[in-house]
Structure formats: C-alpha cells, structure tokens
Amino acid sequence: MLRLVKAESFKLSKKLKSWLGPLLIMVLVLIAFPLSIDISQFDLAKFYFSIIVVSLLMTSFVATEGMFEEDFEDGSLEQEFLIEKDFYKLVLSKIFVYVCLIGIPIAFIGALFSFANGVAIGSFASVFLLLSLSNLLLFNLFAFGNALSINKGAMLGVLSSLPLALPIIILLGTAVRSIQFGDGFVAIITLMTGIGLLMSAIMPLIISAALKTHID
C-alpha cells in the first residue's frame, strides 16, 4: 500500500500537466466568470459560490481524466494485477494521491476566491473543509467514470458519471446555505464525511471490477 502511494505520487509529480493543469483551470474559470458580467450591476457575492461549485465540478473531471488510461495502455495494470490479484489497493492509493495533490489544492483555491469575492460565509476553514470533502466525493465518482471509459476519452467517462455527481452538488449547495444561516453545518459536514468514507471504501471495489473487465 505504501509502495503504491509512493509510486503514484512520484508518477503524478512528474506529470506537470496532470496536476498543475487542473489548478490553473480552476483559477482561470474563477477569473472568467466576473469578466462575463457587469460587476457594478450585480452583487457578485450572492452567487459567486455557485460558480465555485460548478468550477469544482469541472476541474475535478479534468483532473481525473486519464487517471487509469496510461497504466492501461502501457501494460502496468496487468503487471499490477499479477502482484495483487485485484486493483483495490492500486485504485485506493491513486484516488488518495489525486485528492491530496490536486483535490485539496483546488479546494484551497476555491476557498481563497470565495473570500476574495466577499462571499460572506463562515470561516475560511469551514469553506475549505467543505470543498475538500466534496472533492473527495467527486474524485471517487469521476475515477469510476474514467475507469469505465478508460482509453475512450474523457467525454464518455463524464457522460456516465456526471449524473451521479448531481446529488453531491445539491449537498454542497445545502451546506453553503447552512453556513450562511449558521445552523446544521456540523450535521452536513458529518454526513459528507460519512458518505466520503463509505464511497472511498466501496468505489475502489467497483472501479477494480471495471479495470479487470478492461484487461480481460
């Protein structure tokens, strides 16, 4: 397990495009939005958070794109299968590494921008925690989409997993309201953590089955 985490983080750190790209896209989208409206007319703070949520959704599927494709194309998946007999540990470490190296930085950028734009909600820490948790959920889901589509392009993966991600977006929206009105935040964070843990445990099983089908 430690071997896999080490190997995956080493590989990801060597691919500048894969980890820096999503962060830059996140920043660019967040800059692009205010440019598209007349900020003297609108109260940006009111709906800037929804832009953060949507860009979170977008960047997380950009970030997970090709997550398994490289290993599938060059035969690493088969070698891994011979060692472990399934992909559970591999998938678990991959998602962990991606969340740590890409997901959490994206959440940090999102939290920063939400404050820079005066979204007056709670503390920095609570927004950051919220966005990080949603990234954990989204990365698990999009990893599933990517495992299904593997080398057939990101479009197919997104198409099959995005509908499943919509409840997460709703949950995120609700959490933001709860921060604004100052109640139920802890309950929602607990709920999201629970779902996150459950998904992190179960999704690798399903993704592993999909990957097994691909190398079959």
Binding site: K11, K14, E73, D74, G75, E78, L82, K85, I215
Partner: protein
C-alpha cells in the same frame, strides 16, 4: 513437481473461436514454447495462463502456493516520462536494484539511465522492460515474443540467461511465430496466418 496445468481451454471473442480444447501441464524446471501465426491467440493464451483473461471454457490450475510469476507482454509497462533509473526504482527493492544495475551495464544502458525513457530507441526500451523479468527471482517466467526488436547480442544474452534459469528449476513459457530459441517442448496452436 507440477506447477500449473491447463484443462480444455477454449476461448472465443465475439462468438468467434480462437482456439479450442487445449490442455497441457508445466512442471518446474521445464520450458514450453507456444508456436502460432499472427492472430492465432498466442498472447491470449499466455494471458489466460496468467489469470488475466478468463477462458470461455476450461480452467487453469496452479499447484503451488504463491506462485511467483514474471511476465513481459507486448506492452512493456515502462513510463516514458520517467528516466530508466526511475522506472527501475518504482519496480524493485534494493537487492533487486543491484542486479538490475548489472543488467543495465550488460545491455549498454548504464550511461543512459538519467535520460528520459521517451528518448530511447525501441530496442533500448525493450531491453529496459526485459530487466523487469531478469532482475527478479521467480518460479515461472512468461515472455511474449521476447526476441522481437532485440539485436543478436542481447538475444544471445537473454537465451543464455533463460537456459541458466531452466537449469535452476525455474519454468519457462515463451511464444513466437518462429522456432523456439531454446530447446524445449513445443505447443503448436496452429497458424491462423494469412
């Protein structure tokens, strides 16, 4: 000692039969050469033996606990955005790395160990991929078309390595569309060759 046995293996893809009712055994210290033309299913048969692909009918049984298999197929599992050294470090522990370095020297890759693997030639990449098999101790070595893309000198080194391993009791399964490179049993699965 019997290592592995295949019983009545049949494999079909999209309802087209690739091969039909193959049975064979592999004992330790024994070599098996699978011969067949293009598209005859050599690689698929290897993948069935490895347990990666499941056969349409029949089964493969391993008789040893924790069978240690080294395998190299058409896909070389090399990351071309890493250097050869980094590639090897991902694979091996310290003891194995020592042997891997010896092979790097023998293959003339030692000076290239810090270049990007993408800049290496196909033959050099193939040699690097072979080290995966050569530097690890295993009970069974499975190679798919090992000689393709190798120069004569490397081919000879590989052949003598395999012969030595055979004498140490390691089993061997190879494929090619030509005659075997070492002296062993031949399983001809037919030439579906056009």
């Amino acid at each position: 000692m019997k290592l592995l046995s295949a019983q009545n293996i049949t494999y079909s893809i999209n309802e087209n039969k690739l091969f039909h009712n193959l049975s064979f055994n592999i004992n330790s210290g024994e070599g098996l050469h699978i011969k067949g033309g293009n598209g005859s299913g050599k690689s698929t048969l290897l993948r069935i033996i490895l347990g990666i692909t499941s056969p349409s009918k029949g089964f493969v049984e391993t008789h040893a606990q924790d069978l240690n298999i080294s395998y190299l197929g058409h896909k070389n599992a090399i990351k071309n955005y890493l250097t050869p050294l980094e590639n090897l470090e991902l694979l091996f522990n310290d003891a194995e790395l020592k042997i891997a370095f010896e092979w790097l020297r023998k293959f003339g890759l030692f000076d290239l160990q810090d270049e990007l693997t993408a800049s290496l030639s196909y033959g050099q990449q193939k040699k690097l991929a072979l080290i995966r098999v050569l530097a690890r101790s295993s009970d069974l070595i499975i190679l798919d078309e090992p000689l393709v893309g190798l120069d004569q000198a490397t081919a000879d080194q590989l052949t003598s390595f395999l012969i030595e391993k055979l004498s140490e009791g390691v089993s061997l399964i190879l494929t090619s569309h030509i005659n075997p490179m070492i002296d062993c049993r031949v399983l001809d699965i037919g030439a579906n060759d056009a």
